[in-house]
């Protein structure tokens, strides 16, 4: 057992000696590291945005706001109370909560200044409505009819209606990130093809000798495959580590901002697993590309 392990180690050392140049000697591991870094960041952005769109869609699909557009404050409060009762009695509504006027005023203060809290401005009352799951559009239509029967000054707006463009933008950004990942994969493949061809050219003398001694194409391709696989492994590990560090730092900054929207850009366990698989795929891709390139090149010789 020990002897066979030593034997394997000696065989591997002999194979490694056939193609010289130490690890991390050439540009290949560094290029792979940069590619992997950018791939992981793009993939993380895509996955985070997709999670955010999913969470936003789930949120938006079941939520609506009821506005009480009444200039008279007393009438507005009365109408708001009536609307609240109606909503809470409706079977399509899971919960209905009035939005604190102070909170509303706070949000308006950047545009209206102190006038927002003076009471002189007729700011509509708002009721935040959470619908029961399923057929949000139909439920909103039914509630619109019920509230319309109470007063024409009651308006219901599904959140999806005004956040839809944002969700569309986030989805587009998510696809853009996915596109960048695909481009990175193609670029990595191209880099490996060039590296394998370069290595093949610079070792042509050794390869010719091996061929004439009876080496098969597969034996020779394996040498390059192993060598490029090791370079890709080192580069991927480096790029992945840095990318994860950057993602963690960005995550900390996002959560410190306290924004609901940005807070939704999160990576769940599935997303982390996908990110972890990317370097493995990168190394596999590099090895297969190197093998294919060398076999193709050797196939053109005798």
């Amino acid at each position: 057992m020990m002897a066979s392990r030593a034997n394997r180690r000696a065989a591997a050392a002999a194979r490694n000696r056939l193609l010289p140049e130490g690890r991390v000697a050439g540009p290949m591991p560094w290029i792979i590291a940069i590619m992997m870094f950018l791939t992981i960041l793009s993939a993380a952005a895509g996955l985070g945005l997709s999670a955010s769109v999913r969470s936003m869609s789930a949120d938006l699909a079941g939520r609506a706001s009821v506005q009480v557009v009444e200039a008279n404050a007393q009438a507005r409060d009365r109408l708001a109370a009536q609307a609240l009762r109606t909503l809470r009695d409706a079977r399509d509504v899971r919960s209905a909560d009035p939005v604190d006027p102070a909170l509303l005023a706070d949000q308006l203060r950047p545009w209206l200044g102190d006038a927002a809290t003076s009471g002189d401005l007729p700011v509509p009352a708002l009721i935040d409505v959470m619908l029961t799951p399923g057929d949000a559009d139909g439920k909103v239509d039914r509630l619109r009819r019920q509230l319309g029967a109470l007063s024409p000054r009651l308006r219901i707006e599904p959140h999806a209606a005004f956040l839809l463009p944002l969700a569309g933008l986030l989805t587009a950004l998510g696809w853009l990130a996915a596109g960048v990942v695909v481009l990175m994969v193609l670029a990595t493949g191209a880099v490996v093809v060039l590296a394998a061809r370069g290595a093949h050219d610079s070792h042509r003398g050794t390869i010719d000798v091996l061929h004439l001694m009876g080496s098969t194409d597969v034996q020779i391709a394996r040498l390059f495959q192993r060598r490029i696989g090791l370079d890709a492994f080192l580069g991927s590990a480096l790029g992945f580590s840095f990318a994860i560090l950057v993602i963690i730092l960005i995550g900390l900054r996002l959560s410190a901002m306290g924004s609901d929207l940005l807070g939704a850009v999160t990576l769940d366990t599935r997303a982390w697993m996908i990110l972890a698989v990317l370097p493995v795929l990168g190394v596999t891709l590099a090895m297969l590309t190197a093998r294919w390139t060398v076999l193709r090149t050797l196939g053109r010789s005798l």
């Binding site: 034997n7 002999a14 003398g205 050794t206 010719d208 009876g214 098969t216 196939g299 005798l302």
Partner: protein
């Protein structure tokens, strides 16, 4: 006596140039010792390239070990190449490998276990008088030493045919004689030896060896005795 090599009307042309070899027909008997002579540019190296399967002919038939190798698929060539040892004119030692690793190459290519490689390589290094230079890189070896490494590498796999292109071109007459003695020893063990040289006194040293002369890509005596080589035991 079985023919181990057969050429029938072989022609070789590089690109659109005129033929480097034309209508070459001969056969080598298994266990024979053959010299290939001719002036520089006569086509000796081209003929040897066809013999050790570095090149396919433009026309004609080449049979090695009884099989037509001209139409042989690429993936079957390695098996044939492993049965042929080659001493290249320029040695073609792998520059970044030690003498030991260079000699061990054919065994590693053949998939031999590392534990089984050490003894034959050490024996071969001693055989060519380089027992203490195993870890030396080719660049640190003299021309003669490099040549001996190349010869050791060519014979370590006990090939059925040994092809040597100008093996004495870089060595003094004493070393040339010793190399021929090595080749004769191998020949006695059953290896068919084919040596390209224009060193006629060298040919005279090997008793019973047959000579084939190339002139401008053609055999000088295409109907000569090489077509029907005598048995090795009749060579004396």
């Amino acid at each position: 006596m079985t023919a181990i090599v057969q050429f029938e009307n072989v022609g070789l042309r590089y690109g659109l140039d005129s033929e480097t070899l034309s209508d070459v027909s001969f056969s080598f008997a298994s266990g024979g010792f053959y010299f290939l002579t001719g002036a520089s540019g006569a086509g000796k190296t081209s003929l040897l390239k066809l013999l050790y399967l570095a090149q396919r002919p433009s026309r004609g038939v080449i049979r090695l070990f009884g099989e037509d190798v001209v139409t042989l698929p690429r993936d079957r060539l390695p098996g044939f190449r492993r049965r042929i040892g080659v001493v290249f004119q320029d040695f073609r030692l792998v520059p970044h490998l030690s003498a030991y690793d260079n000699i061990a190459l054919p065994l590693r290519v053949a998939g031999m276990e590392e534990s089984e490689i050490d003894a034959p390589v050490a024996e071969m290094l001693n055989w060519v008088g380089l027992g203490d230079r195993g870890q030396a890189r080719p660049a640190t070896l003299s021309g003669g030493e490099q040549q001996r490494v190349a010869i050791a590498r060519a014979v370590i796999g006990r090939p059925e045919i040994l092809v040597a292109d100008e093996p004495t071109g870089n060595v003094d007459s004493d070393m040339a004689r010793r190399l021929m003695t090595l080749f004769e020893a191998l020949n006695r063990l059953g290896t068919t030896i084919v040596v390209a040289t224009h060193d006629l006194p060298l040919i005279a040293q090997v008793k019973g060896a047959q000579m084939m002369k190339l002139d401008k890509g053609r055999l000088a005596d295409p109907t000569g005795m090489l077509r029907y080589p005598p048995r090795p035991q009749d060579r004396q």
